[in-house]
Amino acid sequence: MYQTCRRTRLLLLLPAIAALTGCVTPVAVRGLSAQLVRTQLAYSLSLRGYFAAVEKFADAQVKIADYRIDEITSQMNREFGQRAGAALGHAATPEERQRIIDQLVKDVAGNTSADLPLKRKITDAVTSLQQRDRELESAYLVILAASQKLDEYIRLKKADEAAIQELTRAVGLNSEKITSIVDEIAKLSQDLTLSMTKTQ
């Protein structure tokens, strides 16, 4: 009888101590923390897929741009060729013909070499996109690692929680249940404090 009474008192005492010391991490906090890490992990995978798709699209756009530039260059070279052809028809001397041909070679070479800086500018822009993607990806991995670290701390069995768990095990109670009860008590106590403040 004395043992049962003492045990009952101990059962009531445990959540009360836990609530007063406020040392148990609430179940809701642990739940949110774990879910946050899972969501961030899923987001990082989705982000990687998104970057890969955008980069593939950008690579395709570079090919299209290169093709379009080459096409315009060919059109310009044709224009130079037609002008040279018309001029050759009116050339009176071999020197004059040679001058027209030299000019055509110069125009075509200049036209083609002018494309190189343009194409380089395009590939540099896409490289900048890829670099930025890698930076964002690695920054997000650091954010994820920080969240995981916090979650590890939140899920950690703290010294006070370890004590409660040991005690509850000794009296045959589920510690998770105690944690929920502690949460409830803490909430009730908070509500009570609020109502008392309002009535004053």
């Binding site: 043992q3 950008a58 756009q61 570079v62 741009a65 379009r68 530039i69 315009i72 260059t73 059109q75 310009m76 224009e79 002008r83 002018a114 494309d115 343009l118 194409k119 500018k121 395009i122 540099d124 822009a125 896409v126 900048s128 996109l129 670099q131 930025r132 930076e135 964002l136 920054a139 650091v142 954010i143 690692a145 920080a146 670290k149 916090l150 590890e152 701390y153 950690l156 069995k157 703290k158 010294a159 006070d160 929680e161 370890a162 004590a163 040991e166 005690l167 095990r169 000794a170 009296v171 045959g172």
Partner: protein
């Protein structure tokens, strides 16, 4: 001063070129045609310009990297404290049993 984009300039020059279509060929008309084609190449390359502005925005995570080892340390400290508490309680239970108190395993 009025500023004009390459696109706007290209549109105006193309309109001008259309107006000159029926006039006899001359070097000026030829130069105009070449200028239009050069601008078309510029428009193609210019489409990629927005990508270069991406480099201006950064995400600062250095502070997170600095703070994480501190949490590691806190975890380690807490684990040691929990082990100590478990040991003390275990000793206390032995003492209680020795004193005749019946505890559930």
């Amino acid at each position: 001063m009025m500023t004009m984009t390459i696109d706007e300039l290209l549109t105006q020059l193309s309109d001008l070129s259309l107006k000159l279509e029926l006039t006899p060929d001359d070097p000026t008309k030829f130069d105009l045609q070449i200028l239009i084609l050069q601008l078309r190449k510029q428009v193609v390359a210019q489409a990629f310009d927005p990508l270069t502005t991406l480099a201006n925005s950064t995400v600062e995570v250095e502070q997170l990297k600095l703070l994480m080892p501190q949490v590691d340390q806190a975890i380690l400290t807490e684990q040691r404290r929990a082990m100590l508490v478990a040991r003390i309680i275990s000793l206390a239970k032995i003492a209680l049993r020795a004193a005749g108190v019946n505890l559930v395993q």
